[in-house]
Symmetry: C2
Subunit: 232 residues, 2 copies
DNA sequence: TCCGGGTATATTGTATACAATGTGCAATAT
DNA sequence: ATATTGCACATTGTATACAATATACCCGGA
């Protein structure tokens, strides 16, 4: 599908997009911590570019909700709260349900086949017990469903929301109690879509997201508790 | 509530935000037409600022989907197609249903009262037959529901989607065939929320959005037809 | 006449210079 | 000793200069 000129494809992107991707990755992985200030000169020096692309990248991060702007104080990494996360998940749930319903109507047989493969890949990834594998297999699985919705706007919004979730995912996925159930859930989703049953699919994805939500909330609460203990 | 220093409050906003608002307004009202190129020097001269704030504003418009970037060709106003509109409406429908469901759980009695008033205001606006009145009354009505969802992320996304709809609203609302039914629909939504019945509310808003969708699609098709005739 | 190459020009991409403003520290007065 | 004022510095906001590149037009040759 791809030709072989994607080596260092970033070299052909505008610097602002390279910077944007770099900063976003740093925030999502926690390298840049919530509340940390993004100072332009500092970042410019560090990345070896001028302030202009840095500023334009920050504008985009602002719209994505990953940073907040304070007038005359610049940008700082947005804080994560349980409320903000459950807000995101509430929306995600609704849009995920929409995705699978639309996918049921519009998915091709060939895509159903790819979905089954992605489902199996995910099982293998869980066997490998490598977090990066598991995460990317999970993303691949859901991406197929999004694409099958044939709704560009929806795909764009879901990518955005999914990105937000990575900030938590890197935490909650360590909580391995639910990996086996994730496999079961993915299978149910796949089967429901293959049967092109919108309501069944919606219920399956509902369970899936709710379980993740509970898992993440448990993690956050645990961390908050331990933070409080540290203070004492 | 407000003090009296909000005279020309834009004067205290960064130029990029002023430019952003200006350009967005121009696009939504159709002053800047789909496909039109946004050339930085030209806009800078016209608005009396340098290219820097223009560029930063364009970055934001890009994220909102109002302009598309072409590499090395800059920005141009995003085209409106029936597909892009139905994409937006598909998402809107899902999020509107979520809004009313959440509102049913979280709305206060005082807000229900305000909702009823907004409902009556809308009826008065329809009587006045002034499009601007009708539009703003409609927005006010829906804003109360959004706010009652208590989900900041959802509110932000709905505002965004609603803005996109203005590009069409200025057209479709001329189609007055549905104003009376809009009143009925608003009443049904209000009653359902007042009863705090999520499913009934969802069905009511579903009908509401679908009717608007049909109305807009009729308008678009009619315009496309007349455009084709012009060409002949 | 039509096609192709090359150059001029317009436009975006990037860097840097300059202006405005907020923050922190220190000096001074109470 | 503490509070307040003013100044220096750090940082963002804005403008402009410079570089890279795409587009359009012109000219020459087939």
């Amino acid at each position: 599908m791809d030709n072989n000129f994607n080596i260092n494809e970033d070299a052909f992107l505008p610097l602002r997009d390279v910077v944007f991707k770099t900063l976003r990755q740093s925030i999502l992985t926690g390298e840049l911590k919530p509340g940390e200030r993004l100072m332009e000169i500092h970042l410019a020096d560090k990345l070896g570019v001028s302030r202009t692309p840095i500023r334009e990248a920050i504008r985009q991060l602002e719209l994505e909700g990953l940073v907040v702007m304070l007038p005359r104080r610049g940008a700082q990494v947005a804080h994560i709260t349980e409320k903000s996360m459950s807000d995101v998940l509430e929306v995600r749930l609704a849009l995920d349900e929409l995705s699978v319903k639309l996918a049921c109507e519009r998915i091709t047989d060939e895509e159903i086949e790819r979905l089954r493969e992605a489902c199996l890949d995910f099982e293998k990834a869980v066997d490998s017990a490598d977090i990066r594998n598991i995460t990317s297999a999970d993303v691949a699985f859901h991406d197929i469903i999004f694409a099958a919705s044939r709704n560009m706007r929806l795909i764009q919004m879901m990518n955005n929301l999914a990105e937000q979730m990575y900030r938590y995912r890197f935490e909650y996925i360590k909580d391995d109690s639910g990996w086996q159930s994730l496999i079961t859930e993915h299978r149910m989703i796949t089967d429901a879509i293959a049967m092109r049953d919108p309501e069944l699919s919606a219920r399956a994805i509902h369970v899936h997201i709710k379980n993740q939500e509970n898992s993440i909330i448990r993690t956050i609460r645990r961390e908050e508790k331990s933070r409080k203990k540290d203070k004492e």
